[in-house]
Amino acid sequence: MRLKRMAAIMAAGMLCAPQAQAQIEIQWWHSMGGQLGESLNELANKFNAEQKDYRIVTSYKGSYPESMTAAIAAFRAGQAPHLLQVFEVGTATMMAAKGAVKPVYQLMKEQGEPFDPKAYLPTVTGYYSDPQGNMLSLPFNSSTALFYIDRNKFKQAGLKPEPPRTWKELIAAAEKMKAAGQTCVYTTGWPSWVHVENFSAWHNLPIGTKQNGMAGLDTQFTINSPAHVKHVEMLADMAKRGLFTYAGRTNQADSRFASGECAMATISAGALGNIIKTGKTDWQISVLPYHDDVKGAPQNSVIGGASLWVMSGRKPEEYKGVAKFMSFLSRPEVQMDWHMKTGYVPITLAAFELTKKSGFYDKNPGRDMAVRQLTNKAPTENSKGLRFGNFVQGRTVIEEELEAAFAGRKTAKAALDDAVKRGNEILRQFEAANK
C-alpha cells in the first residue's frame, strides 16, 4: 500500500521533471519531527504529484519557537518563506504583525479560491479569527487536552475500570489506588494549557478580559478567580498527599503514562500514537474531568497545536499556488487521512463526518473524543480560544507560579495573584510595542 503510493509519487515526480523549470516553488517551514514530519511530507508530495504548476518545498526548522524565530529572522532579512507553521501561543504575535503576514481570508478572496469559514470546526476557527470572524491563518494540526486512564491500574485497585467524570470522583479513585500501592496516580502534561487554559474554557470561565484577549490588546488575565484558586489548591493538596505527580512543563507526562508508570493523565490528544506504540497500558480516553459545582461545566475545551500563516511580500503568482495548496489541505479526504495518521483532529466538519462514515471510530473507540470535547457545546466568549501577546513568556510565568504552588512554597491564591500580576506586565509590554 505504502510502496504503491510511493511508486505513484515517484512516477508523478518523473513526469513533472521536464517542466521543473517552469514550476513555481513554495517554501513551507514547519516543526513536525519524526513520524509527524513524514506524514506532513506525504501531504506535500501528494499535492506536488496531482498538479504541475507549483511545488511545495518543506523544511523542518526545529521546535515551534525555533521555527518561529527562524522565520522572524528570515523576514527581517527579506527572505521569509511563503508558509509558516506557528503554534497556538504565537498566534497573537503573528496577528499583530500586520505587514508581515497575509491573512488567509484575504488571500483566498484575492485568488478566487472557494473558502467558507463555516466549514471548519467552530472552536478551531474561533482561535484563528479576528473579532469580525475573518480567518487569519489556516488551522493545520489541532489537538486538545484529553483524559487518559489505564484500566489495568483501576482493576488492580479493585475499582471499576471507568474514567472518573468529575474531579471529586477522580480524587476518590486516586485515594483508593494510592492505598493499593500505586506510586504515580495522576499526572499532567502542559500545566498551563491543561489546568489554566483548558480548565477555564471547560468551566466557561474567562482567562482574560476582552474575550480572552481576542477583542483587544488591552486585555488582562483573570486566572486568579475563586474557581481557579480552588482548582490549583486542590492540585497542590493532591501533590502533597501523593495523589498528583508533577511531570514537567511540556509533554514529559506522555511517556510516564505510556510506560505504565502513572494510572491517570491529562495530556494531549496527540499523545495517543505514542501510547499505542508503547503498548504497555490498557488505555481508555475520556473527556477532561470537571467540577460539578461550577455552573455550566462542562462547556468545551480549547485547541492546541499549530496553524499555517502566509507571509507577505511574495509575488501574486506564488500566492496563487499557496491558495490552491490551502484548498487542497482543507479537502475532507486529505484531512481524514491526516487525522487518522497523526491523532490530530480533523479541522473541517465534513472531514469529521467522512471519518465517522468510514467506520474508523467504531474500530478505534475514543478517537473521536477530541472532536466531541471541542464541540461539546457552542463555544462562548470564554471558550472559543485565547489570544495574549508574548504568550510564550506568559505561559512560562504561569508555569513558574503553578510550580511554586504545587511545591507548597506559595499558596494557590498567592501564586495565581502573582501570575496575573506578572502576566499583565508582559501584556502591557506587548501592547506598547504593537500600538
Partner: protein, 294 residues
C-alpha cells in the same frame, strides 16, 4: 638593558594584527554595539514597529523582583561551579600527577568529558537523574531513601545543574592544573621534603603558591563559563525551573530573546550581563591578581 624587537616597517605590525582586530570588531564589538542599541528600543517581533524608549527596558527589569532574584541564583550557581570545579580538578590533577603506571590512560579519560557539548551533558544528566526513570534517582531512593524530584525541589534542581556544569568543565581545569603541576621544578619539592615538610605542608607552601597563576586564570575562565557557557545545559535540563530556581541571567536572556522574541528586554539584559562580567573580571584582576606569584 631591555631587549626589544622593533619592526623596521611602519605598516607591517599593523597589517599583522589587523586580522585579529577585524575579527574582534566584527564578532564582538559590532554585536555588542547592536545589543546596546536594541536595549533602548521597544520593538515588535518582526521589527515592523520600533520605538525609542530610552532606559525604559532597564527600568522595567529592575522593577521586576523576579529579575532581581535571578541575580542571586546566578551568584550561587557561579560560585558553586567555580569553587567545586576548581577544587575537583585540582584534586584530580594532583592524583594524576602522582600516577606512574598508565598515566596516559588516566589523563585521557579525565580529559574526555570536555569533548561533550554542554547541551548534550545536560541531556545526559537529565536522563541519569530523571525523576521517574533515572538510574541515579532509582539508586538514591533504593539505598539512601532520598526522594529525588528536581521538577519541584529547587535545591535539588540547582544541585543537578551545578553537577552537570562542573562535570562538563572539570577536564578543562584539569588540563591546566596538570600542566601547572608538571612545570613546578622537582628540586623545590625535594628541597622542602629534605627540610622535613610533610606532603600537606609541601602542597600549601610550595605547590599551591606556584600554581597561583594557573588558578587565577582558571578562576576567570570558570566564572565566565558559569555566566555564559551554561545556558544550553540549563535548557536541556531544568529550563530555569522549578519556578525560577535555576534561572540564571544568561538563560533568561536566551529565553526572552530567542524563544519569546522580546528583543528589547533581552538586549537590555545582555547589556547588564556584559557589565557584570566586565566588572567581575576587572575586580579579579585588581584584587586577586595581587596575590598571584608569577
Amino acid at each position: 638593558m631591555e631587549k626589544r624587537v622593533v619592526f623596521r616597517s611602519a605598516w607591517l605590525p599593523y597589517a599583522l594584527v589587523a586580522p585579529q582586530i577585524a575579527i574582534t570588531l566584527v564578532f564582538f564589538f559590532w554585536p555588542a554595539a547592536q545589543a546596546l542599541w536594541y536595549s533602548f528600543q521597544l520593538q515588535d517581533a518582526f521589527g515592523l514597529k520600533t520605538q525609542f524608549v530610552g532606559l525604559q527596558n532597564f527600568v522595567t527589569l529592575f522593577k521586576d523582583e523576579n529579575y532581581l532574584a535571578s541575580f542571586r541564583v546566578t551568584a550561587v550557581f557561579s560560585v558553586l561551579v567555580a569553587v567545586i570545579g576548581l577544587a575537583a580538578a585540582l584534586v584530580l590533577a594532583l592524583m594524576a600527577d602522582r600516577v606512574v603506571r598508565g598515566a596516559m590512560g588516566y589523563k585521557t579519560l579525565l580529559i574526555w568529558p570536555y569533548a561533550v557539548a554542554p547541551a548534550v551533558a545536560g541531556v545526559l544528566y537529565a536522563f541519569l537523574f530523571a525523576p521517574s526513570i533515572g538510574i541515579v534517582t532509582y539508586a538514591l531512593r533504593r539505598w539512601f531513601g532520598i526522594e529525588w524530584n528536581w521538577l519541584l525541589d529547587g535545591e535539588q534542581a540547582m544541585l543537578l545543574v551545578v553537577m552537570a556544569a562542573v562535570w562538563n568543565h572539570v577536564s578543562y581545569n584539569f588540563v591546566f592544573f596538570l600542566a601547572g603541576l608538571q612545570a613546578i621544578p622537582r628540586s623545590l619539592i625535594e628541597a622542602a621534603a629534605i627540610d622535613g615538610a610533610g606532603p600537606a605542608r609541601r602542597f600549601w607552601t610550595v605547590v599551591f603558591p606556584l600554581l597561583s597563576p594557573t588558578t587565577f586564570f582558571l578562576l576567570v575562565i570558570n566564572v565566565v563559563y558559569a555566566f555564559f557557557g551554561t545556558f544550553g545545559l540549563i535548557d536541556a535540563t531544568t529550563q530555569g525551573g522549578p519556578g525560577q530556581d535555576t534561572q540564571i541571567l544568561v538563560y533568561k536572556v536566551y529565553h526572552d530573546g530567542v524563544k519569546a522574541a522580546d528583543l528589547g528586554g533581552s538586549s537590555a539584559q545582555s547589556v547588564i550581563l556584559m557589565l557584570i562580567v566586565i566588572a567581575l573580571t576587572v575586580a579579579q584582576f585588581r584584587f586577586i591578581e595581587r596575590r598571584v606569584q608569577y
